[in-house]
Amino acid sequence: MLLIDCPYCGERPEIEFSYGGEAHIARPENPGALSDKEWADFLFMRGNQKGAFRERWIHTQGCRRWFNVLRDTTSHEIYAVYKIGAPKPPAPGEKPVAAKKPAAKKPAALKKGAGK
């Protein structure tokens, strides 16, 4: 029973979450333009890292939000949790990555003042 620090709700038991596999797999902008091999890479091929691994979890029974976890698949130690779109925290021994703008755009409907 892992203890996962939901970035919205705090530390909660694994049983409240569902697993989403490898993180940071961007859906292709234009799937129709992809070759079969590129599509297979997107759909099926996975890093499956041994050691520090970036993965997605969703707090299914709590706030129902997806987020990312940096976890060691050999020790189950959780190094960091971070919201979708937030800069990647470095893995142990990894150089910090310069902060980028969130890849995912906020849905227009939730933009401040939208529709005004």
């Binding site: 029973m1 892992l2 203890l3 620090d5 530390e11 038991p13 189950h76 130690e77």
Partner: protein, 349 residues
């Protein structure tokens, strides 16, 4: 010869409260505070079981959960349980137990003939035998081997008892309530931390239940009593007796089994027989003490050999003449082992 091995005084039994029990169909008497093991030894019963493969005679080696030999079939009917260590069964009035895996009896066991064949039955011998043909294995050898397999018997009726769960959290989890565990729990509790202290025995004190030492200038038995009282007075301390911590999982998640009813008292939702504790701790202190390890010499598994000094004197000093003790458990070397698991939040200690 009931009581023939008893000393007139001492030990942790109440001689004013005799209890009747039955082992292998024969009636005996023990006392409140006995385990089945200590009561059997007190009654001069040393042959408890037979080994799995050669059916060698087996007695009691230890006084606790490290017992490798003395497994019995406890109770009967729907409440029967196979392979329970006699050293972990508190005696109760009307207890019924028997040896496992023997026929027709533990004293005269037909399969003991296997022992004579032991030179031919080395480890893994069956991988190279019983296979003149596949059909011989299927029709003859495997059915015979299977019939000989196993120790005790599973019940054949559904379990009438009620069980329970509990999911709890604490700042400090202390496993083992000997001098190290009690000290650690007391230090943690004094800071206001949420503390859980678990010990597999029915009484706290660990090695101090049998050792008479001096701690903080007083006899160790008094120190145990006052420490337990002090702990019980803390609102944030949970004391779990008869509770075995069975697993330490990721991020300090522990599973422990509390034995709540040891006799045949019917259980109910209001009074479950056992309770599984799921514990999430910020810090874990393992103070589980020493573990009896037998010394290696020929026939060290024969009845009458006891490992270490804990074997005989936990429940009652017994006449030691007929016993041999050999082992490498030294309670004095038992220190607290502290396990630190990374925790990003500091315990409010």
């Amino acid at each position: 010869m009931s009581g023939s091995m008893r000393l007139p005084g001492g030990g942790r039994i109440d001689r004013s409260r005799p209890l009747k029990f039955t082992f292998n169909g024969k009636g005996y008497t023990g006392y409140e505070g006995d385990t089945l093991a200590s009561a059997l030894i007190a009654n001069g019963v040393h042959l408890i079981a037979r080994s799995m493969k050669y059916h060698r005679p087996r007695g009691l080696m230890t006084a606790g959960s490290d017992e490798p030999n003395g497994m019995v079939q406890l109770a009967t009917g729907a409440r029967t349980e196979p392979n329970i260590k006699a050293t972990q069964i508190p005696l109760y009035d009307g207890l019924v137990a028997s040896s496992v895996n023997v026929f027709p009896s533990v004293e005269f066991d037909i399969s003991a003939v296997n022992g004579l064949l032991s030179p031919f039955m080395t480890a893994g011998f069956y991988y190279k035998t019983f296979m003149p043909s596949q059909a011989f294995w299927d029709k003859v050898a495997e059915p015979v081997i299977r019939k000989a397999a196993g120790f005790g018997k599973a019940p054949t009726e559904p379990d009438p008892d009620v069980y329970d769960h509990k999911y709890v959290h604490c700042d400090v989890m202390v496993v083992g309530a000997g001098p190290a565990g009690l000290s650690a729990a007391r230090a943690a509790a004094a800071t206001g931390a949420r503390v859980i202290l678990a010990d597999e025995q029915a009484e706290f004190g660990g090695s101090l239940l049998t050792l008479n030492r001096e701690i903080d200038g007083k006899p160790s038995a008094d120190w145990v009593r006052s420490t337990v009282n002090e702990l019980a007075g803390h609102e944030e301390v949970t004391l779990l007796k008869r509770t075995t911590v069975a697993g330490l999982y990721d991020q300090n998640y522990m599973v422990a089994l509390e034995q709540r009813i040891d006799d045949l008292t019917p259980s109910s939702p209001a009074n479950p027989r056992m309770r599984v504790w799921h514990i999430r701790a910020k810090e874990v202190i393992l103070a589980a003490g020493s573990h009896e390890r037998p010394l290696v010499f020929a026939d060290n598994d024969r009845p009458g050999h006891h490992a270490g000094r804990r074997g005989a004197d936990l429940h009652e000093p017994l006449r030691g003449a007929a016993m041999q003790e050999a082992g490498c458990s030294s309670p004095t070397t038992t220190g607290p082992m502290r396990r630190r698991v990374p925790s990003r939040r500091t315990a409010p200690m």
